[in-house]
């Protein structure tokens, strides 16, 4: 019950502090810009003739993946910058003192803040991601293979980064918790590239290092899930072919979705890190 109360408080704060309005405005500008660019692509004339539909859709598929990649960074940064202050600011400024003197479990504060932040980000991903995909469809006629699955994976990325930000903010100031969780996301992405290079070169140590990073911070596995859900089958086949030849490593295509064990690991990771955050907050003197 109190978890919901803190989640609602978090959501209200985001609305009242005009963060939602600012992000909505910026997102609309980006969506409009994308629509304009894709419309120009669809109506472009090359050598006196319009680009063939297949060409437009192939290009659109590539653009969707690039947009999703940038979007995953925006979502991860958003999770770090919203999640960390949601938890740490009320501790730093003393707002939490009168609240925790009530019959409230500290775990309820942590879980409520987490739930509110994840719900806000999931809503943003659904609306902003959905709008972008709608614009792509209307302007170019291209629809990725599994758009909803991709958005769900991106929500997973948001959940992982939010979990780290909130768990760290149970002990650290907002700035430190936000920066560390954003850096961990970047590190995980680099780890994914290292793993791909290791696999392509047949270097087991390199591949293992990447895998370890993916286990420590499982956002890259989730990003790959989003990538797999967005890329047309032909992209995956080309990637598989490139891997077989040991030629090119392309971080923007994958040959298979993340295995269920890795998804389960990511879910377990969220639960474990959140539990660690709760334990850290429960033992903190305020």
């Amino acid at each position: 019950m109190n978890v919901v109360l803190f989640a609602v408080l978090t959501l209200r704060e985001l609305v009242r502090r005009r963060l939602v309005a600012a992000v909505a405005l910026l997102t609309l500008v980006i969506v409009a810009f994308t629509a304009w660019g894709l419309h120009r692509l669809a109506t472009a004339v090359v050598d006196g003739a319009p680009i063939a539909d297949a060409g437009v859709r192939g290009t659109a598929a590539g653009i969707v993946i690039m947009l999703a990649f940038l979007f995953s960074f925006v979502v991860a940064l958003g999770a770090a910058l919203v999640g960390a202050p949601a938890m740490a600011e009320s501790i730093a400024n003393g707002e939490i003192l009168a609240v925790l003197a009530r019959p409230v479990r500290r775990a309820e504060v942590v879980l409520g803040r987490w739930l509110g932040t994840v719900l806000a980000l999931a809503f943003y991903i659904a609306v902003a991601g959905g709008l972008e995909l709608l614009v792509v469809r209307v302007t170019t006629g291209y629809v990725p293979p599994q758009p909803l699955t991709a958005l769900a994976y991106l929500a997973g990325v948001a959940a992982v980064v939010t979990t780290a930000a909130i768990a760290l903010a149970a002990r650290l100031p907002a700035l430190a918790a936000g920066i560390v969780s954003a850096l961990l996301f970047g590190l995980a992405w680099i780890g994914g590239i290292v793993e791909a290079i290791g696999l392509a070169l047949g270097n087991a140590r390199l591949a293992d290092a990447g895998t370890i990073v993916a286990l420590i911070f499982p956002t890259d596995a989730l990003w790959r899930g989003a990538l797999y859900a967005l890329q047309p089958a032909v992209f995956g086949a080309l990637a598989a072919n490139a891997n077989a030849n040991g030629t090119v490593v392309n971080p923007f295509s994958v040959t298979s979705p993340p295995p269920p064990a890795l998804i389960a690991w990511a879910c377990g990771w969220v639960v474990a890190v959140l539990a660690a955050g709760v334990a850290a907050f429960r033992t903190r003197d305020l």
Partner: protein
């Protein structure tokens, strides 16, 4: 004892090698108003935070309303105004109180909120956002939050630090009303005159240790000597408090015209300064 609102025995808190509070032993009876005094850094706020369950003791034990400190159910019967009072500036005062009412599971929340808003004189501005409030108004809101749900014990950590003289007078009156209702008040304050006026007992801490405890009367009161204003100005006479009427009678017999008589008193401030004289 079952009638104790607070019973602390050798309560202590250390932060690494620094002892924030050592060996705090005190009892506060139900309905009593205790003034908790000490210079800056004496451990007063740490003591309050331990009693409301925000800081874990590193030694000793304490009970509030018959339950170990921090007991979750008991916290519904406690009101607390932190020294560092701050409330979400994007909420209206009424919304802040509604949030706390939900945490307390108050049944008739609207009425309880109106009651405390009236109590602290914030009813007219209750719909305004906290961000538009002066510091004094925010402190009044903090008091309203502490009083919500008619707690059996109220911890007030420097409740008048941001208030003007009118606000301080209001808070004194508020504490008097709480006492009249039988609410226990734990008042942490630097304003010794304030404590002297409203508290039954006083506990003085210094450098983490209790240096004096007792009723206000026991710590203050009449001392040797009396000042008398005669036609030619003030004169001081050395005598025991009980001998003052005799001194005055003798002066009258001798034909002196007496304009004023001031028995020498030890104020709480005198006593406090003597206790923490090292500073």
């Amino acid at each position: 004892m079952p009638d104790d609102a607070i019973a602390a025995h050798a309560l202590a808190k250390r932060y690494g090698r620094i002892g924030a509070l050592q060996d705090l032993t005190l009892r506060v009876a139900r309905g009593e108003c205790l003034g908790f005094l000490g210079p800056n850094g004496a451990g007063k706020s740490t003591a309050v935070k331990m009693l409301v369950g925000l800081v874990r003791p590193t030694g000793g034990a304490a009970e509030v309303l018959g339950k170990p400190v921090g007991d979750r159910a008991t916290r519904a019967r406690i009101g607390y105004l932190p020294e560092l009072f701050r409330y979400p500036d994007w909420l209206a005062a009424r919304e802040v109180l509604a949030f706390h009412a939900r945490l307390l599971r108050l049944r008739d929340a609207a009425r309880a909120i109106d009651t405390v808003l009236d109590e602290v004189g914030l009813r007219e501005r209750a719909g305004d956002r906290v961000g538009t409030y002066s510091k004094g108004m925010q402190q009044r809101l903090g008091l309203a939050v502490a009083l919500l749900g008619a707690p059996e014990i109220v911890f007030l950590d420097e409740p008048t630090s941001a208030l003007d003289p009118v606000g301080r007078s209001d808070v004194r009156a508020l504490i008097e009303r709480l006492r009249a209702r039988g609410t226990t008040v734990f008042l942490n304050s630097h304003l010794l005159g304030e404590v002297e006026r409203v508290c039954d007992r006083v506990c003085v801490v210094d450098r983490g240790r209790v240096v004096a405890q007792g009723t206000v009367e026991a710590l203050t009161g009449a001392t040797r000597g009396v000042r008398v204003r005669l036609d030619d100005g003030w004169r001081e006479f050395d005598c025991a408090p009980a001998e003052i009427p005799d001194v005055i009678a003798r002066l009258v017999r001798e034909g002196a015209r007496i304009h004023a008589v001031e028995p020498n008193q030890t104020t709480l401030e005198d006593r406090f300064l003597a206790l923490v004289a090292h500073a």
